[in-house]
Amino acid sequence: MITLTINGLEVPVEKGTTLLEAARFLGFPIPTLCHMDGLSPYGACRLCVVEIGEGPKAKLVSSCTYPAQEGLIVRTASSRVLRARKMVLELLLASCPQSKTIQDLASAHNVRQQRFRQEHEDCILCGLCVRMCKEQMVAKAIGFRGRGQTRSIGTPFDIRSEECRLCGGCMYVCPACQLRCTYTEPEKAVCGGCANVSPPCVEKEQFDDMMCYMTPCVACEIQE
């Protein structure tokens, strides 16, 4: 067992526990976007940053990836953490304003405006879909491509991967929902999702083996 201090509270945790798990165990809320139980931690969104250490050596780390260490002093809501978190949310809001998840997070953290040039991107490259596809669906149909500003998620050569079983898992986990259905061009579809006006769940014969993860299914509601 390892003992660490979170916001002044000493907590014994098992070896291999992340700071996020330890903090949540104690009931300290830490917002996350790219973290999901059952998927390996990745540390892409930087929302879950916490402050560790003291004095000039104090630094921010992503709690979802940082392992608990003996005697570590963690602060989950110091002014430095809150300032960074607000800036991350502002950046997210500036790039991906349509996402309900991001809107809710921003609102919960009192971010009411963003000061950057407004963009309308769909994907925040949190990598949840990539990990879902690889770790839970064992398909590895989608992955990251490129780096820096040209980084994107997709299938090899942008054609539908033979590995893809159209399970829709990627859509299910997406906090920004970039991988929305491209049913009009089914051969290009990554997952063939269901938020579509003529959804596959209606034309069952074409996509018979498909499962719908949307609750409630937007398309079905429109149909009704």
Binding site: G43, R46, R80, V88, L91, A94, R115, F116, G148, R151
Partner: protein, 616 residues
């Protein structure tokens, strides 16, 4: 090449090679690293060899082709041994004369280097101010060694540090020696190498350990590692062998970027030769110590210089940093303990072992021992690689070694540490160059890039340039690094377009500090340095851009206008050069630039012989 089976056999070979050498034999040394070849060293080599053949001098005069000596400004150059005469900026015709002069034991006065400060000709290389002010423990070896011949390396004392280590037969001694030398990692962070090795030595998992040479040098304008790899690849191999012996590692990896074809070629040759000679592989020199090195070529991502991304890349995965801890020293390549050191660090290891730690620690200052190679580039008279003791002031490097500003414009700052570094203004040139002082000043030592800037460099533009570079080179994993750098670039672009506001400047500063705080790896944590350091020392330039819509250096295109003054003689040269047809005027009359058509490319300024074009 006969495989050497024992230490005695090696010593026999070394003694024979040393006694074969005739130090008094006239030798023409031609540096032919990538820089030399680009400026025409290959032609010099061809001509020199042909001339020697034609005149039947091949047994009297020798030619040695080496890696870069560091004085890139003077390339292609030739060094004549044993007299030490240095001829800069040569061409084929001059080379013919040099061959004759060496034969007749003469000095060609008219080809000698001219010292710009005194206007006098300098005969010997060691008297040239550029070389005189340096302490060249690593680079000087480039002059002596032919990188593609292992015998040349062994004949110059190569691999004797390894023999010394094998003879001592105590790994502990090696680690203590490196520790007491005070060597710190030359890749930028300055972690004590001895301590790193000790940590690796203490790791016991029974599955083997890795040593890595990080040769993924990616900073724009920095090429120290390239010159060491090209000029003296065996010194890296020797360093890694010593490291392997000290830490009980048996696998080594040299991760070199694919953009360095000559370095790769020389490394491949060096690895093959040392393997053939029995200095690499299983049971080295019959001592039972095994160590092998493989070469991994990087696909050219800047981020792969970061150690965790580098390991991912070696494993064949996407070059993306991961969370530390666990540190590579515990879990590295394939989960095995791994120690990663920079090229220059490895090159220093044999020097320390051969000369002794005390001798090494005598150079430099307390806590920052030894020498450091910098690539001195930008607005400076003597561009090239300079090796100086740690703790020397920036002033000395810029004025004594670099020779000061090349033109009329005054030097105003140096940028150290590449895209992760910062700018240090001329008022702080008394700063000693060591890891701690540079960090305190808002920059970093980095791998050793040193870009000199003068009054014609706009600091907003500099920050913008580095953000543009990092925008593409960030791996993109951390949202704040990827998007934050894009946003910083966006704001800087606004400032240089004259659309900046004070609010946006505050936002830039806030964003820069958050990016520094919230990213995972070294790239992101230092990515804001160019912005923060220019804001710290050159805020007035930003303010002038915002308030007066004026770029004091005359660089930001949206804020400058080109005009023609009374100096114009009406030669029409500028009008002919202008691609946009923006310059009009009749012959022998003053010309006029149409500001609306002008694209501010600066072509007219370059061609004008009368200083008639003004940039305001």
């Amino acid at each position: 090449m006969e495989k050497l089976r024992s230490v005695e056999e090696f010593e026999e070979l070394q003694d024979r090679l040393v006694s074969d050498q005739d130090p008094s034999a006239p030798t023409i040394v031609i540096p032919a690293g990538t820089c030399g070849q680009a400026s025409g060293a290959n032609d010099l080599i061809r001509v020199a060899k042909r001339e020697l053949l034609d005149r039947g001098l091949t047994d009297k005069i020798r030619v040695r082709i080496t890696g870069c000596h560091g004085f890139c400004e003077a390339e292609p150059s030739v060094l004549v041994e044993p007299s030490g005469i240095f001829y800069p900026k040569l061409d084929v015709a001059k080379m013919v004369r040099i061959v004759e002069a060496v034969r007749d034991n003469q000095v060609l006065e008219d080809l000698l280097y001219v010292d710009a400060a005194t206007g006098k000709r300098v005969e010997k290389q060691c008297d040239i101010p550029f070389f005189k002010s340096q302490v060249r423990t690593i680079l000087a070896r480039n002059e002596k060694v032919d990188p593609i011949r292992i015998y040349s390396f062994i004949g110059n004392g190569g691999y004797s540090a390894l023999i010394k280590v094998l003879a001592k037969d105590t790994p502990r001694w090696v680690i203590e020696e490196i520790k007491s030398s005070g060597l710190r990692g030359r890749g930028g962070a300055g972690f004590p190498t001895g301590a790193k090795w000790e940590l690796l030595g203490n790791q016991q998992n029974g599955q083997g350990k890795f040593l890595v040479c990080n040769a993924d040098e990616g900073d724009p304008g920095a090429y120290m590692d390239r010159s060491v790899l090209e000029g003296n690849p065996h010194s890296i191999i020797e360093g890694m062998l010593i490291g392997g012996y000290a830490t009980a590692a048996n696998e080594g990896v040299i991760y070199v970027r694919n953009e360095y074809p000559l370095a790769i070629k020389h490394l491949v040759i060096a690895l093959r030769q040392s393997r053939e000679l029995g200095l690499l592989g299983k049971d080295i020199l019959g001592t039972g110590f095994s160590f092998d090195i493989k070469l991994v070529r990087g696909a050219g991502a800047f981020v792969c210089g970061e150690e965790t991304a580098l390991m991912q890349s070696i494993e064949g995965k996407m070059g993306e940093p991961r969370q530390r801890p666990p540190f590579p020293i515990e879990k590295g390549i394939d989960g095995k303990p791994t120690a990663i050191n920079n090229v220059e660090t490895w090159a220093n290891v044999p020097v320390i072992i051969a000369d002794g730690a005390a001798q090494f620690a005598r150079i430099g200052t307390n806590g920052n021992t030894g020498t450091k190679i910098f690539s001195l580039v930008g607005k400076i008279r003597n561009t090239g690689l300079v090796e100086v003791p740690m703790g020397i002031t920036i002033e000395k490097v810029v004025t004594d070694v670099g020779g000061g500003a090349p033109g009329k414009a005054k030097i105003k700052a140096v940028q150290t540490g590449g895209p992760s570094g910062g700018c240090i203004p001329v008022e702080r040139f008394d700063l000693p160059i060591d890891y701690d002082s540079l960090t305190e000043a808002g920059s970093i030592m980095g791998s050793g890039g040193m870009i000199v800037m003068d009054e014609t460099t706009c600091m907003v533009d500099v920050a913008k340039y580095f953000m543009n570079f990092l925008k593409d080179e960030s791996c993109g994993k951390c949202f704040t690094c990827r998007k934050g750098i894009q946003r910083m670039h966006e704001i800087l672009e606004d400032v240089s377009d004259g659309k900046g506001t004070y609010d946006r400047l505050d936002l830039l500063e806030e964003l820069a500090s958050v990016v520094k705080d919230t990213t995972m790896c070294g790239l992101g944590q230092t990515a804001s340095n160019p912005v923060l350091s220019t804001l710290r020392y050159f805020r007035d330039e930003y303010i002038e851009h915002i308030e007066k819509h004026h770029c004091p250096a005359g660089v930001c295109k949206a804020l400058i206008t080109y005009s023609i003054n009374d100096n114009c003689t009406g030669c029409t040269l500028c009008a002919k050069t202008c691609s946009e047809g923006a310059i009009s005027g009749t012959k022998k009359q003053r010309h006029v630039i149409d500001a609306d058509q002008c694209i501010r490319c600066g072509a007219c300024v370059t061609v004008c012989k009368f200083d008639a074009i003004e940039v305001t």
